[in-house]
């Protein structure tokens, strides 16, 4: 799960994932004409590239597939102009069969008539193969447009597309339109909305978050996919984009600081594991990666806590690491092996982050007065985590071992066993 995976188009690579894991994760496909901004979106959202650097990206010239391993099973397909859906060698069934959402990117600063034609054929072809696909249209690069022009463009694109589809007898196909730009958070918010449609457990997650917020005096809670900074669920209070932005910036800060000190403390103290990633930003995610489908992508040296020989080239078995992660809940905040962070702001707001599982982190916004009872919040968040684990069944292997305990906790929570605030 490291950022350095990028560019690894080796087909074997994608198959490393456990099949069950793959099924449980939403799949996305990113399409669009050349130069519409697909690669830039991909780099900015999934590889933490700074938007200004995307100017130097070379254009992608062949069909290009890039797998990203985060909570979302994400594939990017670059479609060159000459691609023909009616070519018999072009296996539409294989391509569209398993996709949950198809994101089509249109460059709003360019003449988009060709893009609309392409969108039309794509929707028709994909819908025939897989009627369950949700179609999402990103009207992209809107940072260059004035407010009025943005709305006009969206209306125009929306109108044209829907008219053409109804002419083709597909008036029931739902398309959603988003105005996006990589220079602000709009691209992340658009992705968040797309992803949320694909998560069957969404109502359950929202409900859990609502219970958590109500019982802990939390004002707003987001469940984030850490790698992409997309939120996959939030409680039912309205989202204001400022809170989302500050939470997403918080993830950045924590990953950045962890990439400096998380790694270094290890080398100096010979505790923890050595990592020789080229990319410094993947420590946290690598860290979280201990639940069974751990991949040694870089051929690097990994040493678990307790491994004494620092120079040993062995990769210690996964179970020992998973064990060290999961022994945590019984301990207090200190000595916790999961990422945890608190940021206090001058206006009395507290940001509280806790790692939920290998992909996800919970971020809560609350008032400083509420945060005085941190123990209560820690406990309730712990209950929430337990419930989450149940929902996603990500910890299959060790779930059997802890089933009794976990069931009990979930049960407690369902019956309002969370201690109320105050």
């Amino acid at each position: 799960m490291s950022y350095s995976d990028y560019g690894d188009n080796d087909p074997i690579y994608g198959d490393d994932l456990a099949e069950e894991d793959r099924e449980s994760r939403p799949r996305l496909m990113l399409m669009g004409l050349r130069r519409s901004g697909k690669s830039s979106i991909q780099r900015v959202v999934f590889h933490k590239m700074s938007p200004t650097e995307t100017l130097f990206l070379e254009s992608t010239s062949k069909i290009n597939k890039d797998n990203i391993h985060s909570f979302i099973d994400f594939q990017v397909w670059d479609f060159p102009g000459q691609m023909d859906f009616f070519d018999p060698t072009f296996d539409t069934t294989a391509i569209f069969g398993e996709v949950g959402a198809l994101v089509f990117v249109i460059d709003s600063q360019d003449d988009y008539m060709e893009a609309l034609a392409r969108l039309h054929t794509t929707v028709v072809a994909a819908h025939r193969v897989n009627p369950n696909i949700t179609f999402e249209v990103f009207i992209h690069k809107v940072d260059g447009l004035s407010e009025d022009y943005k709305i006009d463009t969206q209306r125009d694109i929306q109108q044209t597309t829907m008219d053409e589809l109804s002419d083709a007898g597909l008036e029931n196909v739902q398309l959603a339109f988003y105005l996006t730009s990589i220079y602000d958070h709009s691209i992340f918010e658009a992705f968040s909305k797309v992803i949320q449609k694909l998560i069957p457990q969404l109502p359950t997650l929202e409900n859990l978050l609502n219970i958590l917020c109500a019982n802990s005096g939390i004002e707003k809670a987001f469940l984030f996919d850490v790698i992409s900074k997309i939120y996959i669920a939030t409680d039912s209070s309205p989202v204001d984009s400022q809170s989302y932005e500050i939470c997403s910036d918080m993830i950045d800060v924590i990953i950045d600081i962890s990439s400096i000190y998380g790694r270094a403390a290890i080398g100096a103290k010979s505790q923890g594991y050595l990592e020789d990633h080229q990319d410094g930003q993947d420590d946290w995610t690598q860290q979280q990666d201990g639940h069974g489908d751990y991949e040694d992508t870089n051929g690097g040296i990994h040493q678990r806590p307790g491994a004494s020989d620092m120079n040993s080239q062995t990769v210690v078995s996964n179970s020992s690491r998973a064990g060290s992660l999961n022994s945590v809940p019984t301990q207090q905040t200190s000595g916790n092996h999961e990422a945890f962070s608190v940021i206090k702001m001058g206006n009395g707001t507290v940001l509280y982050l806790r790692e939920v599982n290998k992909y996800l982190a919970l971020i809560c916004l609350l008032k400083a007065e509420t945060f005085e009872k941190q123990g209560l919040i820690d406990y309730n968040v712990h209950c929430f985590k337990e419930a989450m684990d149940q929902v996603f069944e990500l910890k299959r292997a060790e779930r059997t071992r802890r089933e009794m305990e976990a069931n009990q906790l979930l049960e407690e929570q369902r019956h309002n066993g969370m201690y109320g605030h105050g």
Binding site: D249, I257, A265, K269, W284, I343, M345
Partner: protein, 302 residues
């Protein structure tokens, strides 16, 4: 205590941009909006309470330059503590840059011969990555030979990464009186907390003032990286009508605390012993506050 700092260099080399980022909370992208500096722009930056940087941002167009060396010579080059000379690495006319630079050194030598001289090779982001070391080393060598008999301290900088913070941290470090005393107290603090590392930042700019390290981290660029990371976050906090106050990060193998220490400083404490509770460290920081307030008061009130 006022310290005069001259910021010079050819027109368009990036003097005002870097000043705005470090002292006026600009983000790198916004510096595009800055216009040319006309004549000299004075700004007073309060740093650590009583230490005031008197920053002279000298517009670099030729007409102004000639003026500085002629009629304004005494006015500009008297009582200078630090001269910062900015070179655009992409500059076409290196000879001319050097000519002005040497005139500048001459004026410094006669008017304030004890001034420290920092040379920033700026806009390094425009050079291809694999060429950067080579070009930088060449420039530095040339600068050093041309600067004799004066000694210069060179830095490579870019407003797009943390190198800018490294250069400016070193510059302000050279201006802080009695910084060794501060460092020894910080060492002591570090020992008492059993911390791996303690870093002291200036509150507004987040430039590193001093640090104490018990367990070396190996990443030599970490201080400027942290400056950059926190400064960026501070800016995004202020966009959402809140100001950054403190943070705690816990991880499997370290815990980091960033909190204010005195009215003018922030402190970052890095712990790696998982048995030490957060509350203990936070308590240590809050006790240290009084101590450092007193120290700062004694040090800068003179």
């Amino acid at each position: 205590m006022k310290k005069k700092v001259l910021l010079m260099g050819k027109s368009g080399s990036g003097k005002t941009s870097m000043r705005s980022i470090i002292f006026s909370n600009y983000i790198a992208r916004d510096t595009r909006r800055l216009g040319a500096t006309i004549d000299v722009e004075h700004s007073h930056v309060r740093f650590l309470g009583n230490l005031v940087l008197n920053l002279w941002d000298c517009g670099g167009q030729e007409a102004f330059m000639e003026n500085y060396f002629a009629s304004q010579r005494d006015h500009i080059f008297k009582n200078v503590e630090v001269l910062i000379y900015v070179f655009d690495v992409e500059s076409r006319d290196v000879e001319k840059d050097m000519h002005y630079y040497q005139s500048c050194l001459e004026a410094i030598l006669t008017n304030s011969k004890d001034a420290k001289i920092f040379c920033l090779i700026h806009k390094m982001d425009l050079v291809q990555e694999d060429q950067r070391d080579k070009i930088y080393n060449e420039r530095v060598l040339e600068l050093q030979t041309r600067s004799l008999p004066l000694q210069v301290i060179p830095f490579r900088t870019s407003i797009w990464d943390e190198t800018l913070y490294k250069a400016w941290s070193s510059i302000v470090y050279s201006l802080i009186p009695n910084v060794q005393l501060l460092e020894s107290h910080l060492d002591n603090f570090c020992k008492i907390c059993e911390a791996d590392e303690i870093v002291l930042f200036e509150r507004m700019t987040f430039l590193v003032i001093a640090h104490s390290t018990r367990v070396d981290n190996g990443d030599v660029h970490r201080f400027e990286k942290i400056s950059n990371i926190i400064k960026q976050f501070k800016l995004s906090c202020s966009r959402t009508q809140g100001s950054f106050q403190s943070m705690e990060v816990r991880h499997s193998n370290f815990a980091g605390f960033i909190d204010y220490l005195t009215g003018n400083t922030y402190v970052m404490v890095i712990m790696s012993d998982p048995t030490i509770q957060s509350a203990a460290t936070l308590m240590n920081i809050s006790i240290a506050r009084k101590h450092f307030e007193k120290l700062e008061g004694a040090q800068f009130s003179k």
